[in-house]
Protein backbone atom coordinates (compact mmCIF):
# COMPACT_ATOMS: atom_id res chain seq x y z
CA UNK A 1 0.00 0.00 0.00
CA UNK A 2 2.69 2.44 1.01
CA UNK A 3 4.69 1.54 -2.13
CA UNK A 4 1.81 2.43 -4.37
CA UNK A 5 1.31 5.72 -2.63
CA UNK A 6 5.01 6.45 -2.99
CA UNK A 7 4.94 5.61 -6.69
CA UNK A 8 2.22 8.17 -7.12
CA UNK A 9 4.23 10.93 -5.50
CA UNK A 10 5.61 13.42 -7.95
CA UNK A 11 2.98 12.49 -10.55
CA UNK A 12 0.47 15.18 -11.48
CA UNK A 13 -2.70 14.79 -9.41
CA UNK A 14 -5.82 13.59 -11.16
CA UNK A 15 -7.78 16.50 -12.50
CA UNK A 16 -11.51 16.17 -12.87
CA UNK A 17 -12.37 17.49 -16.34
CA UNK A 18 -16.15 16.98 -16.34
CA UNK A 19 -19.00 16.18 -13.98
CA UNK A 20 -19.45 12.99 -11.94
CA UNK A 21 -15.78 12.09 -11.79
CA UNK A 22 -14.49 12.15 -15.38
CA UNK A 23 -10.71 12.55 -15.16
CA UNK A 24 -8.10 14.14 -17.40
CA UNK A 25 -7.27 11.67 -20.18
CA UNK A 26 -3.55 12.35 -19.56
CA UNK A 27 -4.02 10.19 -16.47
CA UNK A 28 -3.84 7.24 -18.88
CA UNK A 29 -0.37 8.13 -20.09
CA UNK A 30 1.67 6.59 -17.28
CA UNK A 31 1.19 3.32 -15.48
CA UNK A 32 2.40 4.83 -12.21
CA UNK A 33 -0.28 7.44 -12.37
CA UNK A 34 -2.90 4.76 -12.88
CA UNK A 35 -1.65 2.78 -9.89
CA UNK A 36 -1.72 5.88 -7.75
CA UNK A 37 -5.26 6.50 -8.88
CA UNK A 38 -6.33 2.97 -8.03
CA UNK A 39 -4.81 3.27 -4.60
CA UNK A 40 -6.39 6.62 -3.95
CA UNK A 41 -9.80 5.49 -5.12
CA UNK A 42 -10.11 2.03 -3.63
CA UNK A 43 -7.19 1.12 -1.41
CA UNK A 44 -9.31 -1.05 0.86
CA UNK A 45 -10.44 -3.41 -1.89
CA UNK A 46 -6.87 -3.89 -3.14
CA UNK A 47 -5.55 -4.93 0.26
CA UNK A 48 -8.59 -7.11 0.93
CA UNK A 49 -7.96 -9.33 -2.11
CA UNK A 50 -4.75 -10.98 -0.89
CA UNK A 51 -5.86 -12.32 2.48
CA UNK A 52 -4.85 -15.97 1.76
CA UNK A 53 -1.34 -17.27 1.10
CA UNK A 54 -0.66 -18.13 -2.55
CA UNK A 55 -0.54 -21.74 -3.76
CA UNK A 56 -0.26 -23.61 -7.07
CA UNK A 57 -3.58 -24.39 -8.75
CA UNK A 58 -4.05 -27.83 -10.41
CA UNK A 59 -3.26 -26.52 -13.92
CA UNK A 60 0.10 -25.33 -12.71
CA UNK A 61 1.11 -28.87 -11.67
CA UNK A 62 0.50 -30.91 -14.87
CA UNK A 63 1.40 -30.69 -18.54
CA UNK A 64 -1.37 -28.90 -20.40
CA UNK A 65 -3.42 -30.15 -23.35
CA UNK A 66 -2.24 -30.56 -26.94
CA UNK A 67 -1.93 -27.47 -29.16
CA UNK A 68 -4.61 -27.74 -31.86
CA UNK A 69 -3.87 -26.84 -35.51
CA UNK A 70 -6.39 -24.03 -35.24
CA UNK A 71 -6.72 -22.33 -31.88
CA UNK A 72 -10.06 -21.82 -30.19
CA UNK A 73 -10.70 -19.56 -27.18
CA UNK A 74 -10.52 -20.90 -23.62
CA UNK A 75 -13.56 -22.84 -22.45
CA UNK A 76 -14.07 -20.03 -19.95
CA UNK A 77 -14.82 -17.70 -22.87
CA UNK A 78 -17.68 -19.81 -24.25
CA UNK A 79 -20.14 -16.97 -23.57
CA UNK A 80 -18.32 -14.66 -25.99
CA UNK A 81 -20.37 -15.47 -29.05
CA UNK A 82 -22.53 -13.78 -31.64
CA UNK A 83 -26.29 -13.67 -31.09
CA UNK A 84 -28.31 -15.19 -33.93
CA UNK A 85 -31.62 -13.99 -35.34
CA UNK A 86 -32.46 -17.21 -37.18
CA UNK A 87 -30.86 -20.11 -35.27
CA UNK A 88 -33.28 -22.69 -36.72
CA UNK A 89 -32.33 -21.77 -40.29
CA UNK A 90 -35.82 -20.91 -41.50
CA UNK A 91 -36.18 -19.78 -45.15
CA UNK A 92 -35.30 -16.14 -44.52
CA UNK A 93 -32.33 -13.96 -43.67
CA UNK A 94 -30.11 -14.50 -40.66
CA UNK A 95 -28.09 -12.07 -38.57
CA UNK A 96 -25.13 -12.70 -36.28
CA UNK A 97 -24.26 -9.77 -34.03
CA UNK A 98 -20.80 -8.87 -32.67
CA UNK A 99 -20.53 -8.97 -28.82
CA UNK A 100 -19.04 -5.49 -28.44
CA UNK A 101 -19.50 -5.51 -24.67
CA UNK A 102 -17.38 -8.68 -24.34
CA UNK A 103 -14.40 -7.81 -26.55
CA UNK A 104 -11.89 -4.95 -26.60
CA UNK A 105 -9.38 -3.14 -28.78
CA UNK A 106 -10.29 -2.36 -32.39
CA UNK A 107 -10.02 -5.61 -34.37
CA UNK A 108 -13.14 -7.75 -34.42
CA UNK A 109 -12.03 -11.40 -34.37
CA UNK A 110 -13.15 -12.83 -37.72
CA UNK A 111 -15.24 -15.51 -36.01
CA UNK A 112 -17.16 -12.74 -34.22
CA UNK A 113 -17.54 -10.39 -37.21
CA UNK A 114 -21.21 -9.62 -37.77
CA UNK A 115 -22.95 -11.29 -40.67
CA UNK A 116 -26.25 -10.76 -42.41
CA UNK A 117 -26.97 -13.54 -44.86
CA UNK A 118 -30.11 -13.09 -46.93
CA UNK A 119 -30.17 -16.70 -48.13
CA UNK A 120 -27.75 -18.66 -45.97
CA UNK A 121 -24.04 -19.29 -46.50
CA UNK A 122 -23.16 -20.40 -50.04
CA UNK A 123 -20.67 -23.27 -50.13
CA UNK A 124 -18.33 -21.84 -52.76
CA UNK A 125 -15.45 -23.81 -54.28
CA UNK A 126 -12.76 -21.12 -54.60
CA UNK A 127 -11.21 -22.84 -57.61
CA UNK A 128 -14.46 -22.56 -59.55
CA UNK A 129 -15.43 -19.06 -58.40
CA UNK A 130 -15.06 -16.35 -61.05
CA UNK A 131 -15.29 -12.56 -61.13
CA UNK A 132 -16.41 -11.09 -64.44
CA UNK A 133 -16.23 -7.37 -65.26
CA UNK A 134 -18.28 -6.21 -68.24
CA UNK A 135 -20.81 -3.69 -69.51
CA UNK A 136 -19.49 -0.26 -70.48
CA UNK A 137 -15.87 -1.40 -70.80
CA UNK A 138 -13.37 -1.68 -73.64
CA UNK A 139 -12.86 -5.43 -73.07
CA UNK A 140 -14.90 -7.66 -70.70
CA UNK A 141 -12.63 -9.87 -68.60
CA UNK A 142 -12.99 -12.76 -66.22
CA UNK A 143 -10.72 -13.44 -63.25
CA UNK A 144 -10.15 -16.50 -61.07
CA UNK A 145 -9.09 -16.28 -57.42
CA UNK A 146 -5.68 -17.58 -58.51
CA UNK A 147 -5.41 -14.71 -61.01
CA UNK A 148 -6.34 -12.07 -58.44
CA UNK A 149 -3.93 -13.48 -55.87
CA UNK A 150 -1.08 -12.44 -58.21
CA UNK A 151 -2.21 -8.80 -58.44
CA UNK A 152 -0.68 -5.99 -56.39
CA UNK A 153 -2.49 -6.03 -53.04
CA UNK A 154 -3.12 -3.52 -50.30
CA UNK A 155 -4.08 -4.00 -46.65
CA UNK A 156 -6.29 -1.57 -44.78
CA UNK A 157 -8.11 -1.53 -41.47
CA UNK A 158 -11.75 -0.69 -41.80
CA UNK A 159 -15.23 -1.18 -40.52
CA UNK A 160 -18.25 -2.65 -42.24
CA UNK A 161 -21.58 -1.49 -40.81
CA UNK A 162 -25.07 -2.54 -41.80
CA UNK A 163 -27.29 0.40 -42.73
CA UNK A 164 -29.71 -0.99 -40.15
CA UNK A 165 -27.23 -1.12 -37.28
CA UNK A 166 -28.61 0.51 -34.09
CA UNK A 167 -32.10 0.61 -35.66
CA UNK A 168 -33.86 -0.22 -32.33
CA UNK A 169 -32.81 3.28 -31.25
CA UNK A 170 -35.48 4.73 -33.54
CA UNK A 171 -37.80 3.56 -30.74
CA UNK A 172 -39.51 6.35 -28.83
CA UNK A 173 -38.51 4.59 -25.61
CA UNK A 174 -35.09 3.06 -24.95
CA UNK A 175 -35.02 -0.68 -25.54
CA UNK A 176 -33.32 -2.63 -22.74
CA UNK A 177 -30.61 -4.47 -24.63
CA UNK A 178 -26.84 -4.88 -24.79
CA UNK A 179 -24.47 -3.00 -27.06
CA UNK A 180 -24.32 -6.29 -28.97
CA UNK A 181 -28.08 -6.32 -29.58
CA UNK A 182 -28.26 -2.62 -30.43
CA UNK A 183 -24.94 -1.99 -32.21
CA UNK A 184 -23.82 -5.53 -33.12
CA UNK A 185 -24.13 -5.03 -36.87
CA UNK A 186 -20.80 -3.22 -37.17
CA UNK A 187 -17.36 -4.84 -37.00
CA UNK A 188 -13.80 -3.90 -37.88
CA UNK A 189 -11.16 -5.92 -39.71
CA UNK A 190 -7.98 -5.68 -41.67
CA UNK A 191 -8.96 -6.27 -45.30
CA UNK A 192 -6.39 -7.30 -47.89
CA UNK A 193 -7.06 -7.44 -51.57
CA UNK A 194 -6.81 -5.88 -55.02
CA UNK A 195 -7.94 -2.31 -55.63
CA UNK A 196 -10.89 -2.25 -58.00
CA UNK A 197 -9.25 0.65 -59.84
CA UNK A 198 -6.49 -1.77 -60.90
CA UNK A 199 -9.04 -4.10 -62.49
CA UNK A 200 -10.94 -1.19 -64.02
CA UNK A 201 -7.71 -0.12 -65.69
CA UNK A 202 -7.38 -3.56 -67.19
CA UNK A 203 -10.88 -3.70 -68.71
CA UNK A 204 -10.85 -0.01 -69.71
CA UNK A 205 -13.85 2.07 -68.63
CA UNK A 206 -16.10 3.69 -71.20
CA UNK A 207 -16.45 7.40 -70.31
CA UNK A 208 -20.24 6.83 -70.19
CA UNK A 209 -19.80 4.48 -67.20
CA UNK A 210 -21.05 6.37 -64.11
CA UNK A 211 -22.22 3.42 -62.01
CA UNK A 212 -21.39 -0.21 -61.59
CA UNK A 213 -23.47 -2.98 -60.20
CA UNK A 214 -21.85 -5.67 -58.10
CA UNK A 215 -23.53 -9.05 -57.81
CA UNK A 216 -22.87 -12.01 -55.51
CA UNK A 217 -22.75 -15.75 -56.15
CA UNK A 218 -25.40 -16.39 -53.46
CA UNK A 219 -28.79 -17.85 -54.37
CA UNK A 220 -30.41 -14.40 -54.52
CA UNK A 221 -27.63 -13.11 -56.81
CA UNK A 222 -27.83 -10.10 -54.50
CA UNK A 223 -26.76 -6.92 -56.29
CA UNK A 224 -26.22 -3.25 -55.54
CA UNK A 225 -25.29 -0.17 -57.55
CA UNK A 226 -22.18 1.85 -56.68
CA UNK A 227 -20.93 5.09 -58.25
CA UNK A 228 -17.83 4.59 -60.41
CA UNK A 229 -16.36 7.48 -58.39
CA UNK A 230 -16.12 5.19 -55.34
CA UNK A 231 -14.82 2.34 -57.48
CA UNK A 232 -11.91 4.47 -58.65
CA UNK A 233 -11.30 6.02 -55.24
CA UNK A 234 -10.72 3.21 -52.73
CA UNK A 235 -12.94 0.19 -53.52
CA UNK A 236 -11.27 -3.19 -53.04
CA UNK A 237 -11.87 -6.77 -54.09
CA UNK A 238 -10.96 -8.16 -50.69
CA UNK A 239 -9.50 -11.67 -50.47
CA UNK A 240 -8.34 -11.72 -46.85
CA UNK A 241 -9.87 -10.74 -43.53
CA UNK A 242 -7.50 -10.31 -40.58
CA UNK A 243 -4.82 -12.21 -42.44
CA UNK A 244 -6.82 -15.29 -43.40
CA UNK A 245 -9.24 -15.96 -46.23
CA UNK A 246 -12.54 -14.19 -45.74
CA UNK A 247 -15.06 -15.99 -43.53
CA UNK A 248 -17.97 -17.59 -45.47
CA UNK A 249 -20.46 -15.22 -43.84
CA UNK A 250 -18.32 -12.22 -44.76
CA UNK A 251 -18.04 -13.06 -48.45
CA UNK A 252 -15.72 -16.01 -49.13
CA UNK A 253 -13.78 -16.22 -51.37
CA UNK A 254 -13.92 -12.54 -52.36
CA UNK A 255 -16.02 -9.54 -51.53
CA UNK A 256 -16.37 -5.97 -52.63
CA UNK A 257 -15.21 -3.65 -49.85
CA UNK A 258 -16.22 0.00 -50.04
CA UNK A 259 -14.55 1.72 -47.07
CA UNK A 260 -17.12 3.62 -45.02
CA UNK A 261 -20.11 2.71 -47.20
CA UNK A 262 -23.36 1.00 -46.17
CA UNK A 263 -22.70 -2.67 -45.40
CA UNK A 264 -25.11 -4.20 -47.92
CA UNK A 265 -23.26 -2.45 -50.77
CA UNK A 266 -20.10 -4.41 -49.92
CA UNK A 267 -21.23 -7.34 -52.06
CA UNK A 268 -20.14 -10.70 -50.67
CA UNK A 269 -19.04 -13.62 -52.87
CA UNK A 270 -18.81 -11.04 -55.67
CA UNK A 271 -18.99 -12.73 -59.07
CA UNK A 272 -19.99 -9.96 -61.45
CA UNK A 273 -19.35 -6.26 -61.88
CA UNK A 274 -21.15 -4.47 -64.68
CA UNK A 275 -20.40 -0.90 -65.69
CA UNK A 276 -23.57 1.14 -66.30
CA UNK A 277 -24.73 4.62 -67.25
CA UNK A 278 -27.47 4.52 -64.58
CA UNK A 279 -28.10 2.82 -61.23
CA UNK A 280 -29.82 -0.59 -61.46
CA UNK A 281 -32.33 0.21 -58.66
CA UNK A 282 -31.95 -3.26 -57.22
CA UNK A 283 -34.36 -4.61 -54.61
CA UNK A 284 -32.07 -3.71 -51.71
CA UNK A 285 -31.37 -0.15 -52.85
CA UNK A 286 -34.96 0.49 -53.97
CA UNK A 287 -36.54 -0.83 -50.78
CA UNK A 288 -34.64 -2.12 -47.77
CA UNK A 289 -31.78 0.37 -47.59
CA UNK A 290 -33.78 3.44 -48.49
CA UNK A 291 -35.27 5.51 -45.68
CA UNK A 292 -38.58 7.15 -44.93
CA UNK A 293 -37.95 10.44 -43.13
CA UNK A 294 -40.59 12.69 -41.52
CA UNK A 295 -42.94 14.51 -43.90
CA UNK A 296 -42.95 11.55 -46.32
CA UNK A 297 -39.51 12.48 -47.60
CA UNK A 298 -37.93 9.36 -49.08
CA UNK A 299 -34.15 9.05 -49.24
CA UNK A 300 -32.17 6.93 -51.64
CA UNK A 301 -28.44 6.29 -52.07
CA UNK A 302 -27.52 6.77 -48.43
CA UNK A 303 -24.02 5.46 -49.11
CA UNK A 304 -22.25 6.81 -46.05
CA UNK A 305 -22.12 5.33 -42.59
CA UNK A 306 -21.89 8.65 -40.79
CA UNK A 307 -19.78 9.54 -37.75
CA UNK A 308 -20.73 7.51 -34.69
CA UNK A 309 -19.51 6.19 -31.36
CA UNK A 310 -20.84 4.11 -28.51
CA UNK A 311 -19.51 3.07 -25.11
CA UNK A 312 -18.81 -0.65 -24.84
CA UNK A 313 -17.33 -0.66 -21.31
CA UNK A 314 -19.21 -0.31 -19.07
CA UNK A 315 -22.52 -0.90 -20.81
CA UNK A 316 -25.81 -2.78 -20.47
CA UNK A 317 -25.13 -6.29 -19.22
CA UNK A 318 -22.19 -5.21 -17.05
CA UNK A 319 -22.44 -4.09 -13.45
CA UNK A 320 -20.02 -1.95 -11.47
CA UNK A 321 -18.59 -3.50 -8.31
CA UNK A 322 -18.66 -0.51 -6.02
CA UNK A 323 -17.27 3.02 -6.21
CA UNK A 324 -13.75 3.70 -7.40
CA UNK A 325 -11.65 3.85 -10.52
CA UNK A 326 -13.01 2.60 -13.89
CA UNK A 327 -12.11 3.18 -17.50
CA UNK A 328 -14.95 4.21 -19.78
CA UNK A 329 -14.17 2.97 -23.27
CA UNK A 330 -15.79 2.39 -26.61
CA UNK A 331 -15.42 2.64 -30.36
CA UNK A 332 -15.78 5.59 -32.73
CA UNK A 333 -15.78 5.55 -36.53
CA UNK A 334 -16.84 7.57 -39.54
CA UNK A 335 -17.46 6.68 -43.17
CA UNK A 336 -16.01 10.07 -44.09
CA UNK A 337 -12.50 9.52 -42.73
CA UNK A 338 -10.57 9.59 -39.47
CA UNK A 339 -11.97 10.23 -36.02
CA UNK A 340 -10.73 13.59 -34.75
CA UNK A 341 -12.16 13.75 -31.24
CA UNK A 342 -14.41 11.87 -28.83
CA UNK A 343 -16.01 13.60 -25.86
CA UNK A 344 -17.43 11.66 -22.92
CA UNK A 345 -20.03 12.75 -20.39
CA UNK A 346 -20.95 11.14 -17.08
CA UNK A 347 -23.75 13.55 -16.21
CA UNK A 348 -26.13 12.97 -19.11
CA UNK A 349 -24.54 15.57 -21.36
CA UNK A 350 -24.31 18.54 -18.98
CA UNK A 351 -20.52 18.50 -19.10
CA UNK A 352 -18.05 16.72 -21.37
CA UNK A 353 -14.41 15.72 -21.15
CA UNK A 354 -12.15 14.76 -24.03
CA UNK A 355 -11.29 11.06 -24.24
CA UNK A 356 -7.87 9.63 -25.15
CA UNK A 357 -7.81 8.11 -28.64
CA UNK A 358 -5.86 4.90 -29.16
CA UNK A 359 -3.60 5.20 -32.19
CA UNK A 360 -2.99 4.56 -34.97
CA UNK A 361 -6.14 6.37 -36.08
CA UNK A 362 -7.10 4.91 -39.45
CA UNK A 363 -9.68 6.39 -41.82
CA UNK A 364 -13.02 4.57 -42.00
CA UNK A 365 -11.95 2.32 -39.15
CA UNK A 366 -12.69 1.74 -35.47
CA UNK A 367 -10.85 4.07 -33.14
CA UNK A 368 -10.89 2.99 -29.50
CA UNK A 369 -11.45 5.83 -27.03
CA UNK A 370 -10.70 5.66 -23.33
CA UNK A 371 -11.66 7.94 -20.46
CA UNK A 372 -10.44 7.56 -16.89
CA UNK A 373 -13.24 7.82 -14.40
CA UNK A 374 -13.67 7.75 -10.67
CA UNK A 375 -17.20 6.73 -9.77
CA UNK A 376 -18.52 8.04 -6.46
CA UNK A 377 -21.33 5.46 -6.32
CA UNK A 378 -24.13 7.84 -7.21
CA UNK A 379 -26.45 7.42 -10.24
CA UNK A 380 -24.85 8.66 -13.47
CA UNK A 381 -25.55 8.67 -17.20
CA UNK A 382 -22.53 8.02 -19.42
CA UNK A 383 -22.39 8.99 -23.10
CA UNK A 384 -19.87 9.42 -25.89
CA UNK A 385 -19.92 11.76 -28.87
CA UNK A 386 -17.54 11.65 -31.84
CA UNK A 387 -16.21 14.16 -34.36
CA UNK A 388 -14.48 13.24 -37.62
CA UNK A 389 -11.67 14.99 -39.47
CA UNK A 390 -14.11 16.56 -41.93
CA UNK A 391 -15.81 18.33 -39.00
CA UNK A 392 -18.91 16.10 -38.93
CA UNK A 393 -20.25 15.59 -35.43
CA UNK A 394 -22.35 12.78 -34.07
CA UNK A 395 -25.81 14.32 -33.54
CA UNK A 396 -27.38 14.63 -30.10
CA UNK A 397 -30.51 12.54 -29.77
CA UNK A 398 -32.94 15.46 -29.67
CA UNK A 399 -31.48 16.86 -32.90
CA UNK A 400 -31.44 13.45 -34.55
CA UNK A 401 -35.07 12.71 -33.64
CA UNK A 402 -36.13 16.15 -34.87
CA UNK A 403 -34.58 15.43 -38.26
CA UNK A 404 -35.19 11.70 -38.61
CA UNK A 405 -38.16 10.96 -36.37
CA UNK A 406 -38.89 8.12 -33.98
CA UNK A 407 -41.56 5.44 -33.66
CA UNK A 408 -44.94 6.24 -32.13
CA UNK A 409 -44.86 3.05 -30.06
CA UNK A 410 -41.91 1.53 -28.21
CA UNK A 411 -39.85 -1.00 -30.12
CA UNK A 412 -39.57 -4.08 -27.92
CA UNK A 413 -37.90 -6.46 -30.39
CA UNK A 414 -34.17 -5.76 -30.65
CA UNK A 415 -34.18 -7.54 -34.03
CA UNK A 416 -36.60 -5.00 -35.54
CA UNK A 417 -35.57 -2.44 -38.15
CA UNK A 418 -38.00 0.48 -37.80
CA UNK A 419 -35.71 2.58 -40.05
CA UNK A 420 -32.08 2.78 -41.18
CA UNK A 421 -28.90 4.78 -40.58
CA UNK A 422 -29.06 5.70 -36.90
CA UNK A 423 -25.89 7.47 -35.74
CA UNK A 424 -26.94 9.46 -32.68
CA UNK A 425 -25.44 8.98 -29.24
CA UNK A 426 -26.04 6.09 -26.84
CA UNK A 427 -26.62 6.70 -23.13
CA UNK A 428 -26.10 4.15 -20.36
CA UNK A 429 -27.70 4.93 -16.99
CA UNK A 430 -25.90 3.48 -13.98
CA UNK A 431 -27.80 3.33 -10.67
CA UNK A 432 -26.31 3.45 -7.17
CA UNK A 433 -26.01 -0.36 -7.14
CA UNK A 434 -23.90 -0.29 -10.29
CA UNK A 435 -26.64 -1.80 -12.48
CA UNK A 436 -26.76 -0.44 -16.03
CA UNK A 437 -29.78 0.44 -18.15
CA UNK A 438 -30.21 1.87 -21.62
CA UNK A 439 -31.62 5.39 -21.28
CA UNK A 440 -32.27 8.41 -23.47
CA UNK A 441 -30.65 11.62 -22.24
Amino acid sequence: MSNRTNRGEGSPPFTQVAGNGLLDRRALLGRGVLLAGAAAAGGASITGASAEPLKDDPWSLVMGSVSPPRQVPSRFEAHVVRTLSNPNHEFRNSHGRTPHHLIHGTVTPSALHFTICHSGLPDIDPEKHRLVIHGLVRQPKIFSLEDLARYPMVSRMGFVECGGNSAPMFSNEPIQATAQAIHGLVSNSEWTGVLLSTLFEEVGLDPKAKWFLAEGADSLALHRSVPVKKGLDDAMIALYQNGERIMPGNGYPMRLWLPGYQGNMNIKHVRRIKLLDQPAMSFYEAKTYSQITPGEKLWKFHFLQEVKSFITHPSFGHSLKGPGYYEISGVAYSGTGRIAKVMVSADGGKSWGEAALQGPINPQAFTRFRMPWRWDGQPVVIQSRAWDEAGNVQPLRADFVAARGQTERPVTNALAFPNQHYNSITSWGIDNKGEIKHVYA
Partner: protein
Protein backbone atom coordinates in the same frame (compact mmCIF):
# COMPACT_ATOMS: atom_id res chain seq x y z
CA UNK B 1 19.66 19.03 -77.75
CA UNK B 2 19.78 17.84 -81.34
CA UNK B 3 16.62 16.69 -83.08
CA UNK B 4 17.94 13.13 -83.06
CA UNK B 5 18.56 13.22 -79.32
CA UNK B 6 15.16 14.75 -78.68
CA UNK B 7 13.46 11.97 -80.65
CA UNK B 8 15.49 9.35 -78.80
CA UNK B 9 14.53 10.89 -75.49
CA UNK B 10 10.83 10.90 -76.48
CA UNK B 11 11.04 7.29 -77.63
CA UNK B 12 12.57 6.27 -74.31
CA UNK B 13 9.87 8.11 -72.38
CA UNK B 14 7.12 6.38 -74.35
CA UNK B 15 8.78 2.99 -73.94
CA UNK B 16 9.24 3.50 -70.19
CA UNK B 17 5.69 4.74 -69.77
CA UNK B 18 4.26 1.71 -71.54
CA UNK B 19 6.41 -0.59 -69.43
CA UNK B 20 5.23 1.04 -66.22
CA UNK B 21 1.57 0.71 -67.26
CA UNK B 22 2.04 -2.99 -67.96
CA UNK B 23 3.63 -3.48 -64.57
CA UNK B 24 0.58 -1.91 -62.87
CA UNK B 25 -1.92 -4.29 -64.46
CA UNK B 26 -0.64 -7.87 -64.58
CA UNK B 27 -3.08 -8.59 -67.39
CA UNK B 28 -4.17 -11.96 -66.03
CA UNK B 29 -7.88 -11.44 -66.71
CA UNK B 30 -9.08 -13.56 -69.60
CA UNK B 31 -11.20 -12.01 -72.31
CA UNK B 32 -14.83 -13.06 -72.40
CA UNK B 33 -17.69 -12.16 -74.72
CA UNK B 34 -21.03 -10.66 -73.65
CA UNK B 35 -22.64 -13.77 -75.20
CA UNK B 36 -20.83 -15.99 -72.70
CA UNK B 37 -21.82 -13.69 -69.80
CA UNK B 38 -25.52 -13.80 -70.78
CA UNK B 39 -26.63 -16.49 -68.25
CA UNK B 40 -25.55 -14.15 -65.42
CA UNK B 41 -26.51 -10.92 -67.16
CA UNK B 42 -30.04 -10.71 -65.71
CA UNK B 43 -30.18 -7.17 -64.38
CA UNK B 44 -32.97 -4.96 -65.63
CA UNK B 45 -32.50 -1.19 -65.48
CA UNK B 46 -35.20 1.39 -64.65
CA UNK B 47 -35.42 2.52 -68.29
CA UNK B 48 -36.15 -1.06 -69.34
CA UNK B 49 -32.66 -1.88 -70.59
CA UNK B 50 -32.10 -5.65 -70.66
CA UNK B 51 -35.78 -6.61 -70.30
CA UNK B 52 -36.25 -9.90 -72.18
CA UNK B 53 -38.87 -10.66 -74.81
CA UNK B 54 -42.16 -12.06 -73.55
CA UNK B 55 -45.28 -10.81 -71.76
CA UNK B 56 -47.81 -11.63 -69.06
CA UNK B 57 -51.12 -10.49 -67.58
CA UNK B 58 -52.51 -10.42 -64.02
CA UNK B 59 -54.85 -13.28 -64.89
CA UNK B 60 -51.92 -15.39 -66.07
CA UNK B 61 -49.94 -14.47 -62.95
CA UNK B 62 -52.61 -15.33 -60.36
CA UNK B 63 -52.31 -19.15 -60.55
CA UNK B 64 -48.49 -19.00 -60.68
CA UNK B 65 -48.53 -16.78 -57.60
CA UNK B 66 -50.89 -19.17 -55.77
CA UNK B 67 -48.61 -22.10 -56.59
CA UNK B 68 -45.13 -20.62 -56.17
CA UNK B 69 -45.37 -17.48 -54.01
CA UNK B 70 -48.36 -17.58 -51.67
CA UNK B 71 -46.84 -20.01 -49.16
CA UNK B 72 -44.45 -17.27 -47.97
CA UNK B 73 -45.99 -14.00 -49.18
CA UNK B 74 -49.62 -14.82 -48.33
CA UNK B 75 -52.69 -15.57 -50.37
CA UNK B 76 -53.36 -12.67 -52.74
CA UNK B 77 -50.39 -10.91 -51.14
CA UNK B 78 -51.90 -10.59 -47.69
CA UNK B 79 -51.34 -12.30 -44.33
CA UNK B 80 -47.90 -13.73 -45.13
CA UNK B 81 -46.22 -16.48 -43.13
CA UNK B 82 -44.61 -15.24 -39.87
CA UNK B 83 -41.41 -13.35 -40.63
CA UNK B 84 -42.29 -12.62 -44.26
CA UNK B 85 -43.42 -9.43 -45.97
CA UNK B 86 -46.87 -9.04 -47.49
CA UNK B 87 -47.04 -8.35 -51.23
CA UNK B 88 -49.82 -5.79 -50.90
CA UNK B 89 -48.81 -2.46 -49.40
CA UNK B 90 -49.91 1.09 -48.74
CA UNK B 91 -49.48 3.97 -51.18
CA UNK B 92 -48.56 6.55 -48.53
CA UNK B 93 -45.37 6.52 -46.45
CA UNK B 94 -46.07 9.09 -43.76
CA UNK B 95 -44.53 7.26 -40.79
CA UNK B 96 -40.83 6.48 -40.54
CA UNK B 97 -41.61 2.80 -39.92
CA UNK B 98 -44.38 2.33 -42.48
CA UNK B 99 -43.89 -1.21 -43.85
CA UNK B 100 -42.31 -1.03 -47.29
CA UNK B 101 -43.42 -3.43 -50.00
CA UNK B 102 -43.82 -3.29 -53.77
CA UNK B 103 -45.70 0.03 -53.56
CA UNK B 104 -42.52 1.63 -52.19
CA UNK B 105 -40.39 0.83 -55.26
CA UNK B 106 -39.68 3.84 -57.41
CA UNK B 107 -39.62 1.72 -60.58
CA UNK B 108 -41.62 -1.38 -61.59
CA UNK B 109 -38.46 -2.84 -63.13
CA UNK B 110 -37.20 -3.54 -59.59
CA UNK B 111 -40.08 -5.98 -59.09
CA UNK B 112 -39.39 -7.83 -62.34
CA UNK B 113 -35.66 -7.95 -61.58
CA UNK B 114 -35.98 -9.35 -58.05
CA UNK B 115 -38.47 -12.04 -59.13
CA UNK B 116 -36.27 -13.09 -62.03
CA UNK B 117 -32.95 -13.15 -60.15
CA UNK B 118 -33.98 -14.26 -56.65
CA UNK B 119 -37.35 -16.01 -56.64
CA UNK B 120 -38.79 -18.46 -55.77
CA UNK B 121 -36.61 -18.35 -52.65
CA UNK B 122 -36.09 -22.13 -52.57
CA UNK B 123 -35.53 -22.50 -56.33
CA UNK B 124 -34.28 -19.24 -57.79
CA UNK B 125 -34.04 -18.61 -61.54
CA UNK B 126 -36.46 -21.40 -62.46
CA UNK B 127 -39.27 -19.15 -63.76
CA UNK B 128 -39.65 -18.43 -67.46
CA UNK B 129 -39.55 -14.81 -68.60
CA UNK B 130 -43.28 -15.01 -69.43
CA UNK B 131 -43.94 -16.21 -65.87
CA UNK B 132 -41.91 -13.32 -64.45
CA UNK B 133 -43.92 -10.83 -66.57
CA UNK B 134 -47.18 -12.49 -65.46
CA UNK B 135 -46.19 -12.42 -61.77
CA UNK B 136 -45.09 -8.78 -62.07
CA UNK B 137 -48.45 -7.95 -63.67
CA UNK B 138 -50.40 -9.82 -60.98
CA UNK B 139 -48.52 -8.19 -58.07
CA UNK B 140 -48.81 -4.70 -59.59
CA UNK B 141 -52.49 -5.36 -60.18
CA UNK B 142 -53.36 -6.48 -56.63
CA UNK B 143 -51.62 -3.29 -55.46
CA UNK B 144 -53.90 -1.24 -57.79
CA UNK B 145 -50.87 0.13 -59.62
CA UNK B 146 -51.99 -1.27 -62.98
CA UNK B 147 -55.38 -2.43 -64.25
CA UNK B 148 -56.65 -6.01 -64.12
CA UNK B 149 -56.27 -6.43 -67.88
CA UNK B 150 -52.97 -4.61 -68.42
CA UNK B 151 -50.26 -6.56 -70.24
CA UNK B 152 -46.70 -6.31 -68.95
CA UNK B 153 -43.86 -6.58 -71.45
CA UNK B 154 -40.57 -4.86 -72.25
CA UNK B 155 -42.41 -1.74 -73.49
CA UNK B 156 -45.14 -1.37 -70.84
CA UNK B 157 -43.30 -2.36 -67.63
CA UNK B 158 -40.83 0.58 -67.55
CA UNK B 159 -43.75 2.99 -68.15
CA UNK B 160 -45.72 1.89 -65.07
CA UNK B 161 -46.12 4.86 -62.73
CA UNK B 162 -45.33 3.77 -59.18
CA UNK B 163 -46.94 5.58 -56.18
CA UNK B 164 -43.53 6.88 -55.06
CA UNK B 165 -42.29 7.94 -58.51
CA UNK B 166 -40.34 11.20 -58.31
CA UNK B 167 -40.51 11.32 -54.51
CA UNK B 168 -37.01 10.11 -53.73
CA UNK B 169 -34.25 12.47 -52.66
CA UNK B 170 -30.63 11.48 -53.34
CA UNK B 171 -29.00 11.57 -49.89
CA UNK B 172 -25.40 12.23 -50.98
CA UNK B 173 -25.46 13.65 -54.54
CA UNK B 174 -21.82 14.76 -54.35
CA UNK B 175 -20.78 11.12 -54.05
CA UNK B 176 -22.27 10.13 -57.41
Amino acid sequence: MSTRNLLLSLALTVAFGAGAALAETPGLGKTITEADIKPWNLDVLPDGTNLPPGSGTPAQGAPIYAQKCAACHGEKGEKPAPGYSPMVGVHKFDKIDTPKTVTYYEFATTLFDVIRRSMPYVSPRTLTDNEVYALSAYILSINKIIGENDVMDAQSLPKVKMPTAGKFIVRFPDRI
